[in-house]
C-alpha cells in the first residue's frame, strides 16, 4: 500500500496528534536535535533534507529507543510491603525516526519480548507507540547502515515509512497500525515511486562501507585473547556515551530509593563500560580491565547477539562514532580486527 501525502496533508495529520498531546518529534536544541513533545505543529521540521543542509545532524542525538526503553522509569512504588506497578503508559506517536532506529526498535522488541521471559513494560510501550519513520536521502559520513544489513530506505520495525520526494512524502504502511494511519490518501503515482527509488539508490551509493559479518563473527569467535583489544582501547575513557546513545543497547540497572518516606524501585540505563557493571558482591570483577569492557561491547554487537538471536545488533546509525569523546570509531576497530584475523589466518 503506497500513498502520497502532500506536505500540508502530513502537517494536518500530525496536527491531529499534537492536539491530543501525543506527538514527539526531533526538536533542535543547542547544537543537535533531541526528542521532545511537540506543542505546535509548526515546531516539526518536515523536510529533514533542508535541515541537514543547514548543518543539522542526520539523526537525533538520543535514539528512539527511549520510547520503549526509557532512560529511567519507576517500576514500583511501595505501599508498606506491597509493590504497586505505577506509571500509566501513554499512547504516543513518534514522527521523524530514521530507518536505523526503526530496525533497532525491532531488535529491542525481539530481545525484550520475543526471547525467553517477556518484559511486560517494553511490550506495552511498543504496543502503545506509533512509529512514523522518515527515510534518509543524505546519510552522514559516520553512517554505515548498509554495512550491517540495513538501508537508508528500510522500513523494518516501523509502522509507517515516509520517503521525501518533490512536494511531499511517499507513504508506505508496514503494520496494520500504519495502514490505519494512511487510509484516505491518494495512491502514489509510478513517477513518484521512481523518484523515491532513485533517491534511495543515491543514498545507498554514498554508503560505501562493506563489512563481511560472517568473517567478523569468525574472527571474534576466537579473537577473545588477542592483544588487539589493549591496542584499540588505550584512548577509551570508559564513559557510557556510546552505550547510552546506542539504539540497541539494552542493559539496565535496578535502583531502589526512599524519597521522603516514599519507597520506589526504578529501572535505569546501565553500561558495560562502567567499572562496577560486572563487580561481584565478593569484590571479584571479571572485567576490571578497560580493554575487557570495550571487547565485551564489540563482541556483544557482532558475536554474542548472533549466537543468541542469529542477528547482529549493530544497526550502523553511527551515533557511537559521533559522540565518542575519545574519537574511537567502531568501523576502524572492526577493520583492524578483520585485518589481524586475516594475518593470523584465523
Amino acid at each position: 500500500m503506497k500513498v502520497f501525502l502532500k506536505n500540508e496533508d502530513l502537517k494536518k495529520l500530525l496536527a491531529r496528534f499534537v492536539q491530543e498531546g501525543r506527538l514527539f518529534a526531533p526538536v533542535r536544541r543547542c547544537g543537535y536535535s533531541g526528542w521532545d513533545r511537540v506543542s505546535s505543529v509548526d515546531e516539526v521540521v518536515l523536510s529533514r533534507e533542508q535541515a541537514i543542509l543547514q548543518g543539522e545532524e542526520v539523526n537525533t542525538r538520543e535514539p528512539a529507543k527511549i520510547f520503549v526503553f526509557p532512560r529511567s522509569e519507576t517500576l514500583f512504588e511501595f505501599e508498606g510491603e506491597e509493590a504497586v506497578e505505577t506509571g500509566e503508559i501513554p499512547e504516543l506517536v513518534v514522527f521523524g525516526l530514521r530507518p536505523c532506529d526503526g530496525r533497532a526498535m525491532a531488535f529491542l522488541e525481539r530481545f525484550f519480548v520475543g526471547n525467553g521471559p517477556e518484559d511486560p513494560r517494553v511490550r506495552q510501550r511498543r504496543e502503545k507507540v506509533t512509529l512514523i519513520g522518515v527515510a534518509c536521502n543524505s546519510p552522514a559520513d559516520s553512517c554505515f547502515c548498509t554495512a550491517v544489513g540495513g538501508g537508508p530506505h528500510e522500513n523494518k520495525g516501523l509502522d509507517v515509512l515516509l520517503r521525501e520526494v518533490a512536494g511531499g512524502f511517499l507513504g508506505e504502511a508496514v503494520t496494520s497500525k500504519g495502514e490505519e494511519l494512511l487510509t484516505g490518501f491518494p495512491e502514489a503515482t509510478a513517477q513518484q515511486d521512481a523518484e523515491a527509488e532513485k533517491l534511495k539508490a543515491n543514498a545507498e551509493a554514498t554508503l560505501a562501507l562493506k563489512i563481511d559479518l560472517n568473517r567478523l563473527k569468525a574472527a571474534l569467535d576466537n579473537g577473545f585473547a588477542s592483544p588487539i583489544w589493549e591496542r584499540l582501547t588505550l584512548e577509551c575513557v570508559n564513559c557510557g556515551a556510546c552505550t547510552f546513545l546506542c539504539p540497541t543497547c539494552h542493559c539496565f540497572d535496578v535502583f531502589d530509593e526512599t524519597v521522603r518516606g516514599r519507597k520506589r524501585r526504578s529501572r535505569i540505563w546501565d553500561s558495560c563500560q562502567f567499572t562496577l557493571y560486572s563487580q561481584h558482591a565478593s569484590g571479584h570483577n571479571p572485567r576490571l580491565n578497560p580493554a575487557a569492557r570495550y571487547r565485551n561491547r564489540v563482541m556483544d554487537k557482532f558475536k554474542y547477539t548472533v549466537d543468541m538471536l542469529g542477528e547482529v545488533s549493530c544497526v550502523g546509525c553511527g551515533r557511537c562514532v559521533r559522540v565518542c569523546p575519545a574519537g574511537i570509531d567502531i568501523r576502524v576497530a572492526v577493520a583492524e580486527i578483520l585485518k589481524e584475523a586475516a594475518q593470523d589466518g584465523r
Binding site: 525484550f112 521471559p117 542493559c251
Partner: protein, 293 residues
C-alpha cells in the same frame, strides 16, 4: 512465575539463625504472606531467587531449602547496603521475594549415579538443598553413594552446624569436613578433631587437598562443585586425576545480577547469561565459553 517478572511477592521472616562465628552469615527462613503462593512456587535445588527490601535494594541468593521443605531458606553474608539492612531485620519482618530463576543441578543425569559434592565457604547453600533433597526417603534410592566434601576457613565458619553433626552419624551419606585452620579454635561439637582419624573430625587442610583422599569411581559419579574462584582453580585438576570428565562436573556460578531473566545484561559470560542459561553450568560448556568470569 507469570505476570510481571520484576514483581516481588511479600514473605515473612519466620526464623533467623546466625550461622558463623564472625556473625556475618545469617540464615533466613521465609513464609509466603499470601495463601497458595508456596504451592505455586515450585523449584529444584540449584535455582536462585531475588530477595528485596522496599526502598533499600534487591539481590540474588541461592535457595538453600529443599523443594518440599515448608519454609524457604536463604543464607546471606553481610557485604553491602542491602545485605546489611537484611541482617538488621528481626523475625516477623516482611521482605520481598521473586523467582525462582535459573537452571537447577542436572537431576535427570544424576539418577542412579554416585553424587560427589565439593563445596567451599558459604556457597554451600544450594548444595545443602541438594543433600536434603537426596536424603529424603522417597528420593534416596534413586542415587548411589552421596559423598560430600565441605570446607571453610575455620570450623566456626561452617554453615548449618546442627545438620552437619546429624549427617556425620547418618549412614546414607559420607560427610568429610575440613578447615584451613582447625587446631586451637572452637570445635563447635565436632570433638573428635584430631588429625583426621575420627569420622566426626574436622580435618585440617584445603578442600582440593582433602578431596584427594576420597575414593570414588568417577565413571559412575557426577560432581557438583561450588566455591570461590581460587578453590575451583585447584579442584578441577584433582577431579581430573580422579577420572572425572568435564561433562560429569557441574558448577554453580556467582555473577552480578539485576533482573534474573536474561535482559539486564550484567551476568553475561560471552553469549550466555548466568541467570538464564545458568547458574549451574556443565564444566565442559564452561570450557567452551570465554574466560570472562
Amino acid at each position: 512465575m507469570g505476570g510481571n517478572p520484576y514483581q516481588p511477592l511479600p514473605v515473612r521472616i519466620e526464623r533467623v539463625t546466625v550461622e558463623n562465628e564472625a556473625r556475618d552469615l545469617k540464615s533466613f527462613d521465609l513464609r509466603f504472606v499470601n495463601q497458595g503462593e508456596r504451592e505455586r512456587w515450585q523449584f529444584l535445588p540449584g535455582q536462585f531467587a531475588f530477595l528485596s527490601i522496599a526502598g533499600v535494594g534487591e539481590a540474588p541468593f541461592g535457595i538453600a531449602s529443599a523443594p518440599d521443605e515448608e519454609l524457604l531458606k536463604f543464607t546471606v553474608k553481610r557485604v553491602g547496603a542491602f545485605t546489611t539492612a537484611l541482617h538488621e531485620m528481626e523475625e516477623g519482618a516482611i521482605i520481598g521475594l521473586r523467582g525462582p530463576f535459573g537452571s537447577a543441578y542436572p537431576w535427570t543425569l544424576m539418577q542412579g549415579r554416585d553424587v560427589l559434592i565439593v563445596s567451599g565457604g558459604f556457597s554451600f547453600t544450594t548444595l545443602r538443598a541438594v543433600i536434603v533433597h537426596i536424603l529424603k526417603k522417597e528420593n534416596r534410592p534413586n542415587y548411589g553413594r552421596l559423598v560430600v566434601v565441605y570446607g571453610a576457613r575455620t570450623p566456626g565458619e561452617l554453615l548449618y552446624k546442627e545438620e552437619l553433626r546429624a549427617w556425620k552419624t547418618n549412614p546414607e551419606l559420607e560427610l568429610v569436613l575440613c578447615a584451613d585452620r582447625v587446631c586451637g579454635g572452637e570445635l563447635f561439637g565436632f570433638e573428635g578433631a584430631n588429625q583426621g582419624e575420627g569420622k566426626d573430625a574436622v580435618q585440617e587442610g584445603l578442600v582440593p587437598e582433602i578431596l584427594k583422599g576420597v575414593k570414588i569411581e568417577a565413571d559412575k559419579a557426577v560432581a557438583l562443585v561450588c566455591g570461590p574462584p581460587i578453590m575451583l582453580r585447584f579442584t578441577h585438576p584433582v577431579l581430573k586425576e580422579m577420572g572425572f570428565k568435564p561433562e560429569q562436573v557441574f558448577l554453580s556460578l556467582e555473577n552480578r545480577m539485576k533482573c534474573g531473566i536474561g535482559k539486564c545484561g550484567h551476568c553475561n559470560i560471552g553469549p550466555k547469561y548466568v541467570c538464564k542459561d545458568g547458574p549451574v553450568f556443565c564444566y565442559e560448556e564452561l570450557l567452551r565459553l570465554p574466560e570472562d568470569y
